[in-house]
């Protein structure tokens, strides 16, 4: 869980979401505006200010049974679509970038 001290330091520079891994199976999940978790990035609550990000993270981290390791992740908004904001989040959202079988 992000410590209160660390949460105070959080600054965001663009649209962001809170993401974590679901506790029972580890699946990638996103915090929704309904205070739940969804495996779809499109369901995620989008925050645009640091205060809102801190509040969403604090609320998410309090749900320790539902999901583990909540943190703020950048996203890109494009014509109503939400896309991961960096490669790490792209991989978490879309899956492996590799072929599992020899090609």
């Amino acid at each position: 869980m992000t410590s209160p001290l660390e949460q105070k330091k959080i600054r965001i520079t663009g649209p962001s979401v809170v993401t974590a891994n679901r506790t029972w199976d580890g699946a990638v999940v996103y915090r929704t505006a309904q205070q739940g978790w969804s495996t779809a990035l499109s369901d995620a609550a989008i925050v645009s200010t640091s205060d809102d990000a801190r509040a969403l993270l604090a609320e998410s981290a309090a749900d320790d049974v539902g999901a583990v390791g909540a943190y703020i992740a950048p996203v890109e908004l494009n014509g109503g679509l939400v896309k991961p904001g960096n490669l790490r989040e792209h991989i978490r959202s879309k899956g492996l970038t590799i072929d599992l079988l020899p090609a």
């Binding site: 891994n21 029972w24 199976d25 580890g26 699946a27 049974v65 583990v68 790490r88």
Partner: protein
């Protein structure tokens, strides 16, 4: 093979029951993640990018066919049908569900497999030469000592909360296949001038953020004293190791800061106070452990059977035999390495179907035994030479006969950013692209022995520092870049590679490696001069010039 006794079986089963209760309490909310994290790590469970990752120990790299079939079953039943063999004789499953982990552990326990010592700040899986017990010229089977250390350290309270993780590797051959010089403690079995068997003890090796080659702390410790001497080292580490800074917590930092002479004096004083008593190994204890290792009833076979003479006419078979088949200590037998590095495949991965098939081949051709090496390949350690042609055909059908062992496409790679929460950059696609670039086996043969190691971050799970060519993924302004080192090696002459220049972007890595290899081919003074020897002779400058002249 080592046969577990009732005590081992009880311990493993009790551990499963304990973890089942811990998982139940975690899922109910009785335990927070902060409380649970250390407990799951002590059972090999990490949280990675997409899911929990489950790391299972393969002590000293020895597996029975029954155990490998169970690993295949776990991959199929609880994961996505494959597993990843690591650089420390473990296997990892990447997609396992926490709620199902206790069942998976229980099914592994039925065949004597567990996940203890695969994570946490304790003694990790004690590794050894994957050819232990079968390599010609070996002093004796080093796994006996790995097993003694495993038994002594498993759940030992003094070693369960060390300043940081602690890794030991043991070899008994002149040529080090266990990479002992990059371990916290490296043990080299040898005989002293009186013919007594004991260990050269090395300490303070390791890679990661601050890499060091281990230093010899004692040239000879008799076998009966090895437990007490290792414990003395651990006690000094436990007392003085840095717990305030995770980046300075490994024993290598302590050895470096104190200096090997002062560290050795501290260990000797601790050892003297211990009095060599309780931990001095009785001959009977050593022999009891030795007796629990079983060895095949080898037949008396000819050195060159007719089957092998006939098959030698097939150039494809001969290429594979020369590359993947090694001499055995018993006449008429061979050690066969199974490459888990097919062109375009993720290094070290095996599907459940492949694992099942390898188990069947082990039963048919290798007395039911399989070995796992730190280079992320498998081996069948007892194959009769007369069976090599048939085995080759079977392996080829399974995609396990790529004749690239120790060649440029036999790449060691960590899971990288495709899986790992610590990674800054991807490793596997770099490896896959390189295997495609060097897919021509004639070219790979012509290049000769060349080890490429790739890590997706500074933690160095891909051992990039000691690759003949090392590739380290870093992140720059949100983009993947890679630092290239050359001249490293992990064997008895271990040394760190030297950086050749600024990091290059993802898209250019394969081109850069091709440039380095082409430079080597132009610079080597004869075809037999290995890449790493050319670098030693000429230094990095000619390679640097070639790579950066046009970039």
């Amino acid at each position: 093979m080592y046969a577990y006794d009732e005590l081992d079986r009880t311990l493993i089963n009790e551990r499963v029951s304990e973890f089942r209760d811990q998982v139940k309490r975690r899922l109910s909310g009785e335990l927070t993640e902060d409380e649970f994290k250390m407990l799951r790590l002590q059972n090999g469970v990490y949280l990675q990018l997409h899911a929990y990752m489950f790391r299972v120990a393969i002590p000293y790299g020895t597996l029975s066919s029954k155990q490998l079939r169970r690993l295949a079953y776990i991959a199929r039943r609880y994961d996505r049908g494959y597993g990843h063999f690591t650089t420390r004789q473990n296997i990892q499953f990447n997609w396992i569900k926490l709620a199902e982990l206790p069942d998976a552990l229980a099914e592994l326990a039925e065949v004597g497999i567990h996940a203890m010592q695969t994570s946490g700040n304790n003694m990790r899986n004690v590794t050894s030469d994957q050819w232990a017990g079968v390599a010609p010229g070996e002093v004796e089977d080093p796994r006996i000592w790995s097993e003694i250390l495993r038994q002594h350290t498993t759940l030992h309270p003094e070693f369960s909360f060390l300043p940081r993780k602690f890794k030991i590797a043991i070899t008994a051959s002149e040529h080090d296949r266990a990479a002992i010089k990059i371990h916290d403690i490296g043990l080299r079995l040898h005989k002293n001038a009186d013919g007594e068997t004991g260990f050269e003890v090395l300490v303070g090796g390791g890679l990661g953020r601050t890499p060091f080659i281990a230093k010899t702390i004692k040239p000879f410790v008799a076998g009966r004293d090895i437990l007490s001497y290792v414990e003395a080292i651990l006690r000094v580490y436990n007392q003085y190791g840095r717990r305030d800074n995770i980046y300075k917590a490994r024993i290598k930092i302590l050895v470096h800061e104190l200096g090997i002479e002062k560290f050795a004096r501290e260990v000797d004083e601790e050892w003297r106070q211990m009095g060599h008593s309780a931990l001095t190994l009785d001959h009977s204890v050593i022999e009891e452990v030795r007796s629990r290792f079983s060895y095949p009833a080898y037949e008396k076979l000819p050195h060159m059977p007719d089957e092998l003479k006939q098959a030698a006419h097939d150039p494809l078979f001969e290429r594979w035999r020369k590359n993947s088949v090694a001499p055995h200590k018993v006449q008429g037998y061979s050690i066969v390495t199974l490459s888990l590095k097919p062109v375009g495949g993720p290094p070290g991965d095996a599907t459940a179907d492949q694992m099942d098939a390898i188990a069947d081949l082990a039963d048919k051709y290798s007395f039911g035994e399989i070995r796992v090496g730190h280079e992320q390949n498998l081996a069948l350690p007892h194959v009769a030479k007369r069976d090599l042609p048939q085995l080759w055909k079977a392996l080829d059908r399974l995609g396990l006969a790529t004749p690239n062992v120790n060649l440029v496409t036999d790449i060691i790679a960590c899971p990288g950013l495709d899986y790992c929460s610590l990674a800054n950059a991807r490793s596997i696609p770099i490896a896959q692209e390189l295997t495609r670039r060097f897919a021509n086996h004639d070219t790979a043969d012509m290049i000769g022995r060349l080890h490429i190691n790739i890590s997706g971050c500074i933690n160095a799970c891909g051992h990039h520092h000691v690759g003949h060519i090392g590739i380290l993924g870093v992140e720059k302004n949100g983009e993947e870049f890679y630092q290239i080192t050359i001249g490293g090696r992990a064997d008895e002459n271990a040394q760190m590679g030297a950086l050749i220049g600024p990091a290059v972007p993802y898209a250019e890595v394969a081109d850069v490696i091709e440039d380095i290899v082409e430079a080597y081919l132009a610079l080597r003074d004869r075809p037999e001069e290995l890449f790493v020897d050319t670098v030693k002779r000429l230094g990095v400058e000619p390679f640097k010039e070639r790579v950066y002249a046009t970039r």
